[in-house]
């Protein structure tokens, strides 16, 4: 499974959707994921890839980690995985 597929599977599970319903252009809003759901997604992603995502729920749009849509999240995770070496 590629990174992208794994991320989509995690997000789909949180949104209680089939992975085929989650596209790269989907926003968390589109998928009905609220702030608590987002914190759970981030936890699951960190566990899956053994990375630490800089995310503070008080300023979700101000951290370096872009969550504007699924594509941005996947790109951010790829960068964090690459940085980890």
């Amino acid at each position: 499974m590629s990174t992208q597929d794994k991320v989509i599977a995690i997000i789909a599970e949180q949104a209680v959707l089939d992975p085929s319903d989650v596209t790269l252009d989907s926003t968390l809003d589109d998928l009905g994921i609220d702030s608590l759901g987002l914190v759970e997604c981030i936890f699951a992603i960190e566990e899956e890839f053994d990375i630490t995502i800089p995310f503070n729920a008080n300023e979700p749009n101000e951290s370096d980690f872009d969550i504007s849509n699924v594509r941005a999240i996947v790109d951010g995770i790829n960068t964090l995985i690459a940085d980890k070496g």
């Binding site: 702030s35 608590l36 914190v39 981030i42 936890f43 630490t52 503070n56 729920a57 008080n58 300023e59």
Partner: protein, 402 residues
């Protein structure tokens, strides 16, 4: 119904080891938040908190007591000693039989859990100290206060997360007001500043890494504190008859449940608690001069709380003062309402309004007078203290100058 007054106040928290030291720090807008110091702190992402410094429990309590007193109990007994000494009450006979202890704590003996889990899981030990259970139980602090001061009336512990102390004090108030008890020891304490305690909070992603800046547009979360606030609530005629010094009067309270979300606050739930307290106290909204805010410094709490206050007070919201002293002592979770009640006493008795420090940028969603950065002198006749907990459980107290 009886009138209820406060005749003793004691505390220990990041700002000081007494009420006088704490109020002086609040007047000066001092910050008690700094780098955390305990085992494994390097494995935390959040490394700041309002930790109690220079508290030497070993010299204060003997070996048998140390085996039974978690840090939250130590804080409670320390603060209770100051409060009861100030009140001048001695609990004997009928007074002892009817007076009790109602305290709040969210976590109880968190560091006792932490130390002993570490011992059995990490260190692989197969035996723990025989008093682990009586040391960590949430009611340990209330029980030890009852034993130390011969309080034989109704005693128990209330646990409603960040509103625990306010719920406890509301209960104690109710007991004295109804005539059930002539005096009650009440307030709350918390001591979660250990590796497991902070790690759990870290998971929620609502903690700030640098400072607690309530109501400021650039706020980025809460900062934990620790300590205790303990009070003597006494029936007014009982206090007057013995010539006791009265710090202020408690005139009402209300509790409400959001019945909505486990972590997100609700404007309606908060507003119902605030307006309920005014109604119970029989005071007009226009009489309120100061509100000690719940003011956690999270995005969600602060804007919801300001909206609730604006709803309840209408145009008067713009002429009252509302500050969050969590900016100085941190969020004491189950003990927070108790330490914050001290700011209400200072407003009513001394005419000094504690500031919200760390305030840097106005937030249009928190457009109230939050007493930014510097304390202010003002005559206040009625004050409120807000507490809105995770789980949507709210408790607001109303106090009056005597």
């Amino acid at each position: 119904m009886k009138r209820v007054v406060i005749t003793g106040a004691g505390t220990i928290n990041a700002l000081g080891h007494s009420t006088a030291a704490t109020l002086e720090a609040m007047r000066e807008g001092r910050c008690g938040i700094g780098p955390l110091e305990f085992r494994d702190v390097d494995r935390l992402a959040i490394k700041i908190g309002g930790q109690v410094r220079d508290f030497e429990a070993e010299g204060r309590f003997n070996r048998q007591q140390m085996a039974l007193y978690d840090r939250f109990t130590q804080f409670t007994l320390f603060a209770a000693e100051e409060a009861i000494r100030q009140s001048g009450l001695e609990f004997i006979g009928e007074l002892a039989a009817k007076s009790g202890v109602v305290l709040g704590t969210a976590g109880g003996g968190v560091s006792t859990w932490d130390d002993n889990y570490r011992s059995v899981y990490e260190d692989g030990k197969n035996r723990v100290h025989p008093f682990v259970v009586p040391k960590l139980m949430n009611n340990a602090a209330a029980s030890h206060v009852s034993m130390e001061y011969n309080l034989k009336g109704p005693s128990y512990t209330v646990s409603t997360a960040c509103a625990s102390s306010n719920h406890a004090m509301a209960q104690a108030f109710q007991m004295v007001r109804s005539g059930m008890s002539p005096a009650m020891i009440t307030g709350g304490s918390e001591s979660m500043l250990c590796f497991g305690g902070v790690k759990a909070w870290e998971g929620l992603r609502v903690m700030s890494k640098d400072a607690c800046r309530p109501f400021s547009a650039n706020r980025n979360g809460m900062v934990q504190g620790e300590g205790a606030g303990i009070f003597v609530f006494e029936e007014y005629e009982h206090a007057r008859a013995r010539g006791a010094e009265i710090l202020c009067e408690i005139v009402g309270y209300a509790m409400s449940s959001d019945a909505a979300d486990i972590v997100m606050p609700s404007k309606q739930g908060a507003a119902r608690a605030i307006s309920g307290a005014l109604k119970d106290a029989g005071v007009n909204a226009s009489e309120v001069g100061y509100i000690n805010a719940h003011g956690t410094g999270t995005a969600a709490n602060d804007k919801t709380e300001c909206a609730a206050v604006a709803d309840v007070f209408g145009p008067h919201a713009d002429s009252l003062m509302m500050s969050s002293t969590k900016s100085m002592h941190g969020h004491l979770i189950g003990g927070t309402g108790a330490v914050e009640l001290l700011a209400c006493i200072m407003a009513l008795r001394d005419g000094v309004i504690a500031p919200t420090i760390g305030y840097e940028e106005p937030d249009p969603e928190c457009a109230l007078d939050v007493v930014p950065n510097e304390a202010r002198e003002a005559k206040v006749s009625v004050a409120l203290s807000n507490a809105f907990a995770f789980g949507g459980l709210n408790a607001v107290l109303a106090l009056k100058r005597v």
